[in-house]
Each structure stands twice: as structure tokens, then as C-alpha cells.
């Protein structure tokens, strides 16, 4: 696969919201703002494209639009050669198996009343109905093992797991259909340093193994620096800089990128 072939391409995506939200917010265009403002991007197969920016800059809104979990006001999305923005809801449902999401909050994103093996097997029920129950179960167990959870965990419920383990369950569920693109929205920001590092390492291994393409969303430049191949810096709904990760980190062009880099507290080097 060449660089030129984009797996995901978005053109001029826009989303406006009411300012302030709230029941008393006045209606009308003047009281709306652009949460995402004419964003275009190209993600090549196999890369890790990261979007970094401060809270409220529109990262989550953009990510959800790319999967059409939120409808864009305008703009076009092409995934693997098909225009997502033109698909019917039935076609979209079928296309979704190739586009999966890992969420920020491992506590809120798993159904508390389902056993872990069911949670992980559930997407198979929808997308691979021909599989028997036993086959689904076996695939779920294998995926759970792959993310570091052995079989004894499979019959437990989400509340019995730590944040890092829940995030592993979320990753197993996202990967069970062997998607092509995984969108991870702040996958480590709710986790401790040591657990977050385990998660980044796991995502990196799985990328190699399953040939995944990642869209990684984070407010943290150090997190993004670890795994991204390209970085887009977002502010107030728009990209201010997009480039090769090395380039953005070492030779930032935009003043805002420089400001973000300068605000990262530095760790001294361990010498012994």
C-alpha cells in the first residue's frame, strides 16, 4: 500500500453547536459556534495519525463525525474508497465493522450488566451472525488473551476490573471484528502513568500484528509523541498545523504548537 492511498479522507468537515448550551440559550446563527471548522485530513493505511489540542477544541466532535456517530453539518468523508457521508444507515452499519472506537472513559463505556466475554463477543453477533455461539465465545476469549486478560476474567463483570483492565476490554471489543481503522479518543488520559504506558505499548503491538491504522486523539503531546507518525495540532475547531510527527515536535511551525510544546513540564534525564 502506498502513501498516496488514503484509508480515510475528510474534506471541509463542519459542525456548529449552540453557544452555552443550556435551556435559556437563544437560538439563531449568531448564538452558534463552530466546534469543528472546515477540517480536512488524509490518513494513510498503517499510520498513526494523532490529533492533539486542549480541552474543548473539538477533538471528540471531529472523531465522532469521522465515524458518523455525529452527523456533520457539511463536508465529505471517504473511507476505503467509499463516501461515508453518502451511505444509508443500513450501509453505514455494515461499514462500521471496519471503523471502531476506543473510548476515554473505561468506566462508562462498558455495559455493567454483561459479562466480559459477552461484551467482547457482542459485535460478532451483529456482524457475523453465521458464527455459532461457541465460535463467538472462542474468538472473544482469544482476543481477551491477546490483550492480556486470561480466561478466568472472561466470566466477570466490568466493575470487577481496574481502569487499565477495563481499557483492555474496550480494546478487545474494538478489535474483535478486525477493523481497518481504530479511533482512540484519549485512551490513556484516565489511566495512571504505568498503566497508560502498558496501554500505549499494547496498542503499538496490536497495530503491527493486525495491520491497523490509528486515529489517536489526546490532549497530551508527550503521549502523542510516543506513537504518532503524523500529528495535527487543533485549536478552536481548526487544525493549525499538520505534519510528520518528528517535524511537528522538533521544528514546530505554528506559534500555538510552540506554546503547547513549551508548556510541557520537562523531566530531567536519569543518569544512573
Amino acid at each position: 500500500m502506498t502513501d498516496q492511498e488514503a484509508l480515510l479522507q475528510a474534506t471541509e468537515l463542519c459542525k456548529r453547536y449552540q453557544r452555552g448550551g443550556g435551556a435559556f440559550a437563544a437560538r439563531g446563527a449568531r448564538n452558534t459556534f463552530a466546534a469543528v471548522d472546515r477540517v480536512s485530513l488524509r490518513i494513510a493505511a498503517g499510520e498513526t495519525f494523532a490529533i492533539v489540542g486542549e480541552s474543548g477544541c473539538g477533538k471528540t466532535t471531529l472523531a465522532r463525525m469521522l465515524l458518523r456517530l455525529i452527523e456533520p453539518d457539511s463536508g465529505k468523508i471517504i473511507f476505503a474508497g467509499r463516501e461515508l457521508t453518502a451511505l444509508s444507515s443500513a450501509e453505514l452499519r455494515r461499514a462500521r465493522r471496519h471503523l471502531q472506537m476506543v473510548f476515554q472513559d473505561p468506566y462508562a463505556s462498558l455495559n455493567p450488566r454483561m459479562r466480559v466475554s459477552q461484551i467482547v463477543a457482542e459485535p460478532l453477533e451483529i456482524h457475523e451472525p453465521a458464527l455459532s455461539r461457541a465460535e463467538r465465545q472462542e474468538r472473544a476469549l482469544a482476543m481477551l488473551r491477546r490483550v492480556g486478560l486470561n480466561d478466568e476474567f472472561a466470566t466477570r463483570y466490568p466493575h470487577e476490573f481496574s481502569g487499565g483492565q477495563r481499557q483492555r476490554i474496550g480494546i478487545a471489543r474494538a478489535l474483535i471484528l478486525r477493523p481497518r481503522l481504530v479511533v482512540a479518543d484519549e485512551p490513556v488520559s484516565a489511566l495512571d502513568v504505568s498503566v497508560g504506558a502498558q496501554m500505549l505499548a499494547l496498542l503499538r503491538e496490536l497495530q503491527q500484528e493486525f495491520g491497523l491504522t490509528y486515529l489517536l486523539i489526546s490532549h497530551s503531546l508527550p503521549v502523542v509523541a510516543q506513537v504518532a507518525t503524523r500529528i495535527a495540532v487543533m485549536r478552536a475547531g481548526a487544525f493549525v498545523e499538520v505534519g510528520d510527527a518528528e517535524q511537528v515536535l522538533r521544528q514546530p511551525q505554528h506559534a500555538y504548537t510552540k506554546e503547547l510544546l513549551a508548556a510541557v513540564p520537562e523531566l530531567p534525564q536519569v543518569t544512573a
Binding site: D192, S194, G196, A197, L221, Q226, L260, P265, L267, T271
Partner: protein, 335 residues
């Protein structure tokens, strides 16, 4: 110099459905006037419980042992916080010890104007202050915390302020009564990095201007490197390493500290190394070193008993059997 705060063998016990746990276990620390001690550790290591113990805000049913001497002024006698009664706490909390928490929105009253909340904090420790005096001191407190346009801000409600401004208001309230010790529990964790930078600069400036002693709690080693003079690293309720911040971060002695440093993402690409395994539950601690199940240097004696804090040098110590050995399993063979 006598310490502003001198904590000796502090232990907090809490009842749980699976028996008593010790979220703070035999912790000893000192903070001098004008000095910042950073307290780092991952979630559940006991940082917040320790700070709550130092403010007399432990949950119902908690037991506390040990000593925590506060020496707030040269004139007054020092007092043992562990032995204080609720009546005495009122003067100490907010008066001699100020506090700032992670989430300013939950610690501010959402339906009270910001200025009034600052005024209340001042009045709590000076009930006879006149209205004019309160107003003057409120504006001064806001100005000291670099709240821009304090007259306007004082009239607003917390939701009208950004996260960074709310944290500045919290800081102005915490310092309103002129405490000598500030306990800050993850004060910048919920903030964006650019705002965090400003708040850290403000705290550094106030500390200098007011000779504040500070207990600064964070899980971010980069932040600790920036704000602290000394650092204590906690793991499952115990201090496992303690020393001057630069020395601990550049020459860590405890395998957990080393692991945390290696796992912390920096702007350098792809250099992080995760620590394997997970933090054990307090109800299910190993018999010896609590880090042993995750430690690459583990050996038989590690599981026999909890290692003592051993001196690396006069100011630096670590709770590990390897401290003081010339060769650390090849890792530090040549120094």
C-alpha cells in the same frame, strides 16, 4: 531550622468490607518554611488520604496514629494535628493550613458570587472584620492570585470562570487567612498544559513572597520536577523513596521510582517502557516488599519482610533491599 510540618510515623486505617486497610502506612515527612515537598504516586497510593489526615478531614470511622507537628508561628507552641479536637481544627484548617484541590468546581459554591466566597474564607478566621475591610482584603486576595479584573470577577459565579481562573480563586481563598502551609492536591491535573504552566508559576511566586511551605501532590513527575525541592514517592500507602527532587529523578534508587520514570511519556519519541503488572489491592498486599510482584530485581529476601527505608545518603532514602549494595544486578555496576 525547626520544620514547619513534621510528620512522624503517621498511619491511617480505614474499615472496608474486606477488613481494615492502611492507605497511609508509617509515613514520616518534614516540610520547612518556604519549602515545597512533592508527593507523587499512582492512583490509590494514599496521597489524598495523607492530605486529608493533615487537615482533619478523614472519612467517618477512620483511625489515625502517629504524630504530625505543625509549627505555624514562632510565637505559638507547635501542635500535634493527630491529637486535635474538632473545635481546634476550625482555626487550623484554612487558617494555619490552606488547601487547594483538583476540581475547583466541586469545592466552590456554584450559587455564591466568587467575591463573597473569598470574603467568607477571610471572615471565618477574622469574624470581627468590618465590611469595608473584608471587601478590601477580598480584592487584595484575588489580586495576589493574579485574577485579572478582580472587581468584575468578584461579582461573577464560578461557572462564569474558566478552569484556570477558578483554580486561581481557590488559591486566593486558600491563602486569604495567611496560612504558612499550603496543601495542594493535584491542583493542576484538570487543567490544560498552558494553563497549568501559569498556575504553577503563580504558586511558585506566592511561595516565595509568603515563605509558604507546600505539600504538592501530583502523579506527574514532570510537574514535581518543576515545583518541588524534595520529593516523596508513595506506593500502597508507604513512602518508598524520599530525597532532593533532582537527585531522586536523576538517580532514582527504588525500582518503582525507576519504573515510573521510564514509563512517563516525554516529548522524546517512543522511549517509554511500561512497568509490568498492576498495583496490588490494599486488602491483598504481599507479605514483603509491595512492589516485589512487579520488580525485575526481586529476590528471596524481598518477600520475607517489608524492607526498611535505607539511607542512600544523608537526605536520600529508599525502601529497598538493594540500597547500599555496590552492584545492583548489573544495572548500576559502574557509577
Amino acid at each position: 531550622m525547626p520544620a514547619l510540618l513534621d510528620v512522624q510515623h503517621l498511619t491511617v486505617e480505614l474499615p472496608t468490607s474486606r477488613g481494615w486497610v492502611r492507605p497511609v502506612h508509617d509515613v514520616s515527612l518534614r516540610i520547612a518554611a518556604g519549602e515545597t515537598l512533592g508527593l507523587v504516586g499512582e492512583s490509590g497510593s494514599g496521597k489524598t488520604m495523607l492530605s486529608l489526615a493533615l487537615m482533619g478531614l478523614l472519612p467517618q470511622g477512620a483511625k489515625i496514629r502517629g504524630e504530625a507537628w505543625l509549627n505555624a508561628s514562632a510565637s505559638a507552641a507547635s501542635k500535634n494535628l493527630v491529637a486535635l479536637r474538632e473545635n481546634d481544627w476550625r482555626a487550623v484548617r484554612g487558617g494555619e493550613i490552606g488547601m487547594v484541590f483538583q476540581e475547583p468546581m466541586t469545592s466552590l459554591n456554584p450559587v455564591m458570587r466568587v467575591g463573597k466566597q473569598v470574603a467568607e474564607a477571610i471572615r471565618a478566621h477574622d469574624p470581627h472584620a468590618s465590611r469595608a475591610d473584608l471587601q478590601r482584603r477580598t480584592l487584595k486576595a484575588l489580586r495576589r492570585a493574579s485574577v485579572p479584573e478582580p472587581e468584575t470577577r468578584a461579582e461573577q459565579f464560578p461557572h462564569q470562570l474558566s478552569g484556570g481562573l477558578r483554580q486561581r480563586v481557590m488559591i486566593s481563598m486558600a491563602l486569604a487567612a495567611g496560612p504558612k502551609l499550603l496543601i495542594a492536591d493535584e491542583p493542576t491535573t484538570a487543567l490544560d498544559v498552558t494553563v497549568q504552566k501559569q498556575v504553577l508559576a503563580l504558586l511558585a511566586e506566592l511561595r516565595r513572597a509568603m515563605q509558604l511551605g507546600m505539600l504538592f501532590i501530583t502523579h506527574d513527575l514532570g510537574v514535581v520536577a518543576q515545583v518541588a525541592d524534595r520529593v516523596a514517592v508513595m506506593y500502597t500507602g508507604r513512602v518508598v523513596e524520599h530525597g532532593p527532587v533532582r537527585e531522586v529523578l536523576t538517580r532514582p534508587q527504588h525500582p518503582y521510582t525507576k519504573g515510573l520514570l521510564a514509563a512517563s511519556p516525554t516529548l522524546e519519541r517512543g522511549k517509554f517502557l511500561p512497568i509490568p503488572g498492576i498495583v496490588p489491592q490494599l486488602t491483598d498486599l504481599p507479605p514483603g516488599c509491595a512492589f516485589a510482584p512487579r520488580c525485575p530485581w526481586r529476590r528471596v529476601e524481598c518477600d520475607a519482610a517489608v524492607p526498611e527505608l535505607r539511607a542512600v545518603n544523608a537526605d536520600h532514602s529508599a525502601r529497598c533491599v538493594l540500597v547500599g549494595e555496590a552492584v545492583q544486578a548489573g544495572h548500576e555496576a559502574c557509577r
